[in-house]
Structures are given as C-alpha cells and as structure tokens.
Amino acid sequence: MKLKVIGAISLLLALFFIVSCESETSIEFKRYYSVGAEIYQTHCQNCHGANGEGLAALIPPLNDSLFLKNNKSSLACYIKSGLKGTITINGKAFDDAMPANDLSPMELAQTLTYVCNSFGNKLNVITQEQVQADLAKCK
C-alpha cells in the first residue's frame, strides 16, 4: 500500500517537473518571439514584407525553411554584417545586396527566433548563446 502511494506521488512529481520544464522553454520561446516580432517590424519588414513575402525578384521571401535550416548557423552573420552575392531561395536566384543591421546578439536571437518560426518556418528558439557562438565564426 505504502509503496503504491509513494509510486503515485513520485509519478505525479515527475509529471509536474516535465510540465514545468516544458512551459519554461515555451515561455522563453514566447519572450524571444514577441520581442523579435517588434524588431522585425522596425528593421526587416520594409524590405521583406509583413508576411515575409519579399519583393518580386528584388528581395527574397523568408519562407524557404530549407535555406534557413541549412544556413542556420550563418543567419546571425548575414543580418549583422549584411549579405552579398547570389543566394537561391525557393529555387530562384537573388543577387542584390542586403545592408548590414547592427543588432546586439540578444536582438539577433529574438529576430531569428521570430523569422525562423513565422511564415511557415518551424526551427524552434534560437538563443542568445547560440548567436554569440555563431557570430564568433563569421567570415
């Protein structure tokens, strides 16, 4: 009997921890995401559009999940130092330059979390620590 009670309690406790852990990451995600949305409006939206749609063949859309995934660790550098050269987005080539945006690592993380989880993308949270590590490897 005692064993059953202890078992039940520990099961409940384990469940509680799992749930609280999950909600903690989801709170972190929401915090990054909502601030990121505001930074996006100020720094990115004019060119990339409110729905990440880009502009014809001039400015690439931000809905190529595969490109974002394959270049995940370079994205912070792209924003921070700008991007030159040709990139292929959704099978189309874009060769106009993107100007640099001097954002802090935290702001970059928030913006990337927003972009990588909007417009049909689902790449989860991109943390400040991750961005700092990526920035150290900028070419």
Binding site: N46, C47, G49, L55, A56, A57, L58, I59, D96, P99
Partner: protein, 219 residues
Amino acid sequence: MKKLALGFLVLAMWSACKPGSSDKKTLPIFGSREPVTKIVDGKSVTDTIYQTIPKFKFVNQYGDSISNKSLDGDIYVADFFFTTCPSICPVMHRNMLKVYDAFKSLGDFKIISHTIDPKHDSVPVLKKYADKLGVTGNTWWFLQGKKEDTYDIAEKNYLVAVKKDSSAAGGYVHAGYFVLIDKQKRVRGAYDGTDPKQVDQMIEDIKSLQSEPDEIITQ
C-alpha cells in the same frame, strides 16, 4: 401615423444608401491658379488657369527619351525613389505593383518613377530593377535625368499638394509620395506610398478620374 413614420424612415434609409450621383466627389485640383479674363464674341469671360506639369525631358529604363509629350492624354502617377534605398522604397514599390497590376492593360494610364540617385541608377541599372520587379512594356517607366531637374520638378510641381516641412531640407522629395496627375497635367492628389490604405484610395481616385468627362482645355 406610425406607418407613415416608418415609411419615411425606409425612404430616408433607401435614399441614403442609393449610390447617388450628386454626392460623387470630384478630386481637388492642387497648385496655384489664376483667373484670366478674355473677350470672346464681344463678351468678357473669366477662366481659371490651373498650374500644370511643365515641359521635361528624362530617359526611361529602355534608354528612350521621355518628355511631357510622351504622357499627353494619360492619367499618370509620379514618384521619387532610388534603387539602393533600403528604407521606404521597397514598401512604395510593393504598393505600386498593385497599382500597376490594376491598370497595366489600359492604354491611358502610366506610372513614372524618378530616380533621385542618377549617378548610381543608370539606364541599365533601372532596366534591371524593372525586370526584377516584373515590370514590362510601357506602363511603368523608371526615369533618369539630371539630379537638379528631378528635384526641381518634384519640389515646384509634383509636390505642390504636399505640405512643406522646412525642417526636412529636401526631405519630402524622398518622403514616399505618389502624386496623381490628370489628362490636363494638373495635380489631383498626393498619397503616402508606404500606406496600403492610401494606395487603395489612389486606385479608387484613378478610376474616378477615368470617368471624369474630358474638359475643354482653355488656354
């Protein structure tokens, strides 16, 4: 009695909803104007002469020379931009594409976008820009000319409908306005090209200009 009142109410509501011709608004005419008195058939007649867009000469994205004459008989929209502008120009031209798509199949409508950075925006650069925007044909011209000429016509003519802000020196030339010009080359409206709602309003206003009867140009 009650029935009568109800009848009135219904009538009032019906007439309020009726797409009446009387309340159809005419677009204002901007710029300076002066009354001119002439003697016609022995009688003195007073006319109003409105400010019109003067002569100009620019080059479009195809390298063709474009003058005021190239726009004779057209309703058109003018704006000012440069291809490397990272701030408001993409928004303006995202919105202008909507205008282009709405009227590109009509013969009497044009868009002219003047570059304010002619040094960088050469004819080939403008052509490439137009191509990338998906603009073909002769509905939307990207015009290049002397910087002074562009600023001059912008400030003295196209932007007369825009309240001048002395603190922004030359700033309103690059404030993202779309200026609507009628077939008589008079300024009929100025809209914030970065605001989709105002651009929608402009599309409506272009339609109402198209249905405006052709006036006899008195000069």
